[in-house]
Amino acid sequence: MNDETLKELLEQYLTGTITSSSKKELAGLMDQPEYREKLELLMKETFMAESYVNEGNEKLHTEIQEWLGEKIAGDDRTKIIELQSTVAKRSSLIWYRRWQSVAAAAVIILVVGVLLYKWQNNRKDFSPREAPSVAQSDANAPGKYKAKLKLADGSVIILDSAISGKLAQQGNVDVINQNGRLIYQRSHSDKSEVLYNAVFTSNGETYAMILSDGTKVWLNAQSSIDFPNSFAGDERKVEITGEAYFEVEHNPTKPFHVTVNGMDVQVLGTRFNINAYGDEPNMTTTLLEGKVKVTKDDATGFLSPGSQAIITGKNNLKILNNVNTDQVVAWKEGFFNFDQTELKEFLRQIARWYDVEIVYQSEIPDRRLFGIMNRNSSLNSALAALKANNIKFHLERKKLIVTQ
């Protein structure tokens, strides 16, 4: 008896040409640990080489997926129940009372329909929200459509929704401000030099713009974007800080790159949000539509719609699926949208939008917030959430001091 015999018998078995006596012989061999090991090796070889891979069968494929789906769904239901109970424990929040809200929902279901319908219609609308009313121009007013534009020669222009018309010419591109957005529009001039411009927002400012390739960019507060007046060469490259939402004009021959803090996001044409504030623990890229490739040092990840790349520290890239994208881009729709948001993160958002500094005089409890709030609301209404959580605080001009 040798290895060749085993191989020969196995081949006969597999090809269906084995005789009765050989079957007994093969069975006998399999019962010896030594040969069983050799058999395992031969099996592994064919598995790795994909020698016997099946050629597909839709019925079987569906059966297998459905069977697994059922097994896993059971698994998942128990998890959801666990999750709900922990959430219920954690959020002693007034904002979120499931049963009360379900009762309320029954009454106002119609209103929700209208509301969502209007919201959906609004989402595609690129025009900025109305500037906040002047009546709120106290120290703690919400943010505004405002930014600074730095041209290639170093000159700075203040942007807001009040000014309108052509601001400058950069090479063969006209720089136009209209209704609180900045538009880079190709002109007929034949000066085709590439010039770099930048738009900055401070705390309490936001702005929207259309780049020369048609790509739309929304800048959140305390953010910036560096971009060329027109995209020459075979790539489109911009650099940002803070938070920005992109609707990149599709152009498969000229990939669009966003660089932020050592991370590169490569896209062809798509909608996504990047949050890379220095004071946030993670840098997140969230995809709403299309495909993007995220690279940070040696780590690379691909996103599909609804997924989010999270970069924590160096080279640590994680991908989450089925994230609440409405929440992620609520800011550009003119809302705060909190979904299990930590109190500290809530306060960081408040700080950036209402331009206040948060000073912690004591540790604050680990609470999660739920809810949507218009970004035009006053700081006081935003801080109602703190009161509701029994957090003690007071405002001293531009400082929000959290005492307990």
Binding site: K44, F47, N54, E55, L68, D75, I108, L115, R129, N321
Partner: protein, 235 residues
């Protein structure tokens, strides 16, 4: 500004009712995304997503690997229902062990090990089952009047399955099983290696098994096993 009239302190109550309603009812509907893309979604990322409990990624992984696991199990167990069972079990194990996936360096090896023992014990049983049963039993069986219809049905299904094989495989299979040529002869005639001939035969057999398993209204397992495994008079 569709929301404007609702946002005032007075309306907070209603507003957050709406918000909660939105979270309760509409959040569940945000999953209508396109299927995960092919080459853009590699094995490593899939495994990381699955380790995170992502069911979509898991489904995608099954899409990618089920043919490999099933085909392998079927070649050795020679039973389509058994191979299906093993395949399902292998992937269920993957899901159960998902938290360890991020540490798996060689995922193919991991899959192989998950199925290995079940496949070997199935194969061992199959050898016992088949041993001792001689074609002569079948011959007598075939001659029973009420069995003839069943045989005919099985025969037709096998022929239909063979017709559905990819061209080269069909040629190799017919040369072996109908013309009765040896693997060497086929190898020389078609100018392919003996090993390739062997692979075509194994995969052809597997294909027929799967075909009958998924096409037959009534399955006469024992019967067609004889046809396929024992080279009876049909071929």
């Amino acid at each position: 500004m569709g929301f404007e009239p609702f946002i005032s302190d007075d309306y907070y109550g209603i507003f957050f009712g709406l918000v909660c309603f939105y979270f309760c009812i509409f959040k569940g509907q945000q999953t209508g995304e396109e299927p995960l893309s092919g080459p853009l979604y590699n094995e490593r990322e899939l495994l990381i997503c699955i380790a995170d409990g992502d069911q979509k990624a898991f489904t995608r992984l099954v899409d990618m690997y089920w043919n490999k696991v099933y085909g392998h199990a079927l070649a050795y167990t020679k039973s389509s229902p058994r191979a299906q069972e093993i395949t399902q079990d292998v992937f269920l194990q993957v899901w159960i062990k998902r938290q360890t996936l991020s540490e798996v360096n060689d995922f193919n090896n991991f899959l192989f090990i998950l199925g290995k023992n079940k496949i070997i014990s199935s194969m061992r049983k199959k050898l016992d089952e088949l041993a001792g049963k001689e074609p002569v039993d079948l011959l007598e069986d075939v001659l029973l009047p009420d069995r003839q219809l069943e045989y005919k049905q099985v025969y037709h299904q096998i022929m239909e399955a063979i017709e559905n094989l990819p061209p080269t495989r069909k040629l190799v299979f017919k040369m072996s099983r109908i013309e009765g040529l040896t693997y060497e002869e086929i190898s020389q005639r078609l100018n392919i290696s003996r090993n390739t001939v062997k692979e075509h035969i194994v995969r052809g057999l597997s294909f027929i098994r799967t075909f009958i398993h998924t096409h037959a209204e009534m399955i006469f397992w024992l019967l067609y096993l004889y046809f396929v495994d024992n080279k009876t008079k049909i071929f």
